[in-house]
Amino acid sequence: MKILSCFSDIEEIKPLAAAGADELYCAVTGLPSFGEPAALPDLRAFGKAARAAHRLGLKISLAVNSVVPKLTPAEEGGLLKNLAAASAAGADAFIAASPAVIELLSLAEPKPAVHLSSVQPCFNSLTAEFFIGLGVSRIILPNQLSPYEARGILKLCHARGVETEIFDYRFFGCAYVNGRCSLHRPGYYTAAAAVQKGSMCRLNLPGSLPVPRTVGVAPEWKYRLGGITGRLAERLGRGGAPRMGNAASLYDYFAAGVGYLKYGTRRDPPDVKARKVADMRATLDHARELAAAYPAREARERFIKRLEGWDGKKY
C-alpha cells in the first residue's frame, strides 16, 4: 500500500516526500474541484509542482472532482483545453467525479489516467464496472464502505487491473455520504448563530441539544422508543453517525491489497501535513512488519492494539 498525500503549496512537496509520500495530488484554482479552496493558483504553478514532484520520483494527480461543474458549451471547450494543458504540464492522472468531466477527459489526447473520486460514491461492484467502462483506472472508495462490503469491488478491480484507494480514517471521517451532503449549504436554513465551518455536518454539540421529539410514531414501536431516542441524542451530541473506518478496516483493506492510502485535508498547515504523512508511513511500515512476522489473525490483532493507543489530539 502506497501513500497519496494532498498538497496546496509547492513548498510542501519536499517535506511530504521526505515524510514518506509516494504520490501527491492537488487542486488548481479555476478548475472544478470539490470542497475546500486550498489550491495552487494556476496551471503554471501546477507545472512547477509537477516537475518538482517528478524530480523526487513522485506521481502527481490533479483534482477536477467537482460534483456540480457548471459549464456552458463554450466553457466546456475551455475546460478541455485546460485539462490538456494540465496533462502536458505533467499531470499523471485526474481525479474526477462528474460523468461529464470523465467524458471530457476521454476526449483529451493523449488519454489521461482518471481516478474516480470518492465524492461520486462507488458502493458496489456494478458501479465500479460502470465507471471502469468509462475509462476509470483507479477507484477511490468512499469512507462509508467496509472492507467486507467492498470485497466484490476489490475482486473486480484486481481482475481488471484497476487500482484502488482508501482514506486514512484517522484524518478523514465524514459521517455522511460524501458528495451528497447539503448540510454545508447555509442557503437552506436561517442561521441563529455563526456556524463554524464544517460543524453543521457533525452536529457536534455535546450536552447542548434538547432531546429529539418523536413525530408520527408507529404504534408497534411505542414501547421501544426510549433506547432509540437516547441513541440518537447521544450521537448528535458527540458528532453524528458512527464512523465505518477504524483500525480493523484499515488493516483489512491493507491485507486485501488496496493500493493507496490517502490523506486529503488540504487546509492543514504544511507541518501538520508532513507529520500526518510520516504517521501514515510508520503505520503502514508497522502493518507490513506484522504481516511478515505473524499469522494473519495475530498480525491484525497486534495492529489494532497499536492503533487503539493512537492519539489524534497531537494534530
Binding site: 461543474p69 463554450a74 462528474s98 458496489n124 455520504v177 451532503c181 436554513y189 429529539p212
Partner: protein
C-alpha cells in the same frame, strides 16, 4: 400542462389513497436494508386501484444490489404475465449500480434520477435550480433518464433553462417535486439503527432492527432557526410554506409532477 399529483407511502403502505393522487410512490429511497420483493405486490395492488406507481430505489452496496436484482426479476415476471402495466410503472434510480442493473434487466419502464442522484445533472439551492451542462444531461438521456426528482426548497427558484442561461436550448427533462421535506444529507451508518462501531469491529453491513420505521425525530439545532428532522439514516428540513404560486410557475420550472410525503 396538467400537473400530476403523487403520494409517497412509507414501509407500511396504505389500504387506499385519496383520488387527488394519481401516482403512488413506494419503496426505500434512502436505505437498501428496506429493499423487499414484497413491494412488487404493493405496486400491483395500487395499479389495480387505478394508480400509476413508481418504485423508489436507494444507494446500493453489493448486498443491496442483490436485493434490487431480485425485485427487478419479480417486476419482469409481473410485466411479462400482464399483472403490471409497464405504461403505469416508473423506477427511480439513486445509484449507478441500480442504473446498470436496470439496463441488464431490460425492464420496459421509464427510469428517473432520484433525489440523491439528480445532482449529477442539476444543482439545487434554496434560491436556484440550475442545469449543470449539456454533457451531463445528454449522458443521462442516453441512458433513458428524462425525469429528475428534487425537493421543495423555497418558492420560485431562479433557473438557467434557456439558451442565454446555459448556452444551449435545454430540452428533454422534467422534474418531480417532492414536498414538504428536503433531504439534506444521508449516512450509511444509520443514526438510529446501527450499533456503535468499535476499533476492532469488522463491519459486515448495516445491521439494524428497522428502527427507522418507528418514527421521525424533530431536532433543535442551536445554530439554526429551522428544525431538522431525522428518520433513520437521513436528515431532512421541512418547507411547510407554499412553494409555488400557480401551476404556471411550476411549468416554468419544468415541474410536471408533485409528490406529497406525509412524513419525512
Amino acid at each position: 400542462m396538467a400537473i400530476e399529483h403523487g403520494i409517497r407511502l412509507g414501509g407500511g403502505g396504505a389500504k387506499a389513497v385519496p383520488a387527488l393522487f394519481n401516482w403512488v410512490y413506494l419503496g426505500p429511497e434512502f436505505c437498501e436494508n428496506l429493499l423487499e420483493t414484497a413491494v412488487c405486490a404493493e405496486l400491483v395492488r395500487f395499479q389495480k386501484l387505478g394508480k400509476k406507481v413508481c418504485l423508489l430505489t436507494p444507494l446500493l452496496t453489493d448486498k443491496g444490489a442483490a436485493s434490487l436484482a431480485a425485485i427487478f426479476r419479480e417486476l419482469a415476471r409481473l410485466l411479462r404475465t400482464g399483472r403490471l402495466d409497464a405504461g403505469r410503472l416508473e423506477i427511480t434510480i439513486n445509484d449507478f449500480g441500480a442504473l446498470a442493473l436496470a439496463a441488464r434487466a431490460k425492464l420496459p419502464v421509464k427510469l428517473g434520477a432520484g433525489r440523491q442522484f439528480a445532482y449529477n445533472v442539476f444543482e439545487q439551492n434554496s434560491g436556484s435550480l440550475s442545469l449543470l451542462n449539456r454533457r451531463s444531461l445528454d449522458f443521462f438521456l442516453e441512458r433513458g433518464i428524462r425525469r429528475y426528482e428534487i425537493s421543495a426548497a423555497g418558492a420560485m427558484p431562479r433557473t438557467n433553462f434557456s439558451r442565454s442561461g446555459c448556452g444551449f436550448e435545454p430540452e428533454g427533462f422534467a422534474f418531480t417535486l417532492h414536498y414538504p421535506y428536503l433531504n439534506l444529507t444521508t449516512t450509511r451508518t444509520c443514526l438510529v439503527g446501527l450499533r456503535d462501531i468499535q476499533p476492532r469491529d469488522s463491519v459486515r453491513g448495516i445491521d439494524c432492527g428497522r428502527e427507522c420505521r418507528a418514527c421521525a425525530f424533530k431536532v433543535d439545532h442551536p445554530w439554526v432557526k429551522e428544525k431538522l428532522l431525522i428518520r433513520g439514516n437521513t436528515v431532512f428540513m421541512e418547507f411547510p410554506g407554499k412553494f409555488y404560486s400557480s401551476e404556471k410557475e411550476l411549468e416554468l420550472l419544468r415541474v410536471d409532477r408533485l409528490v406529497y410525503c406525509p412524513l419525512p
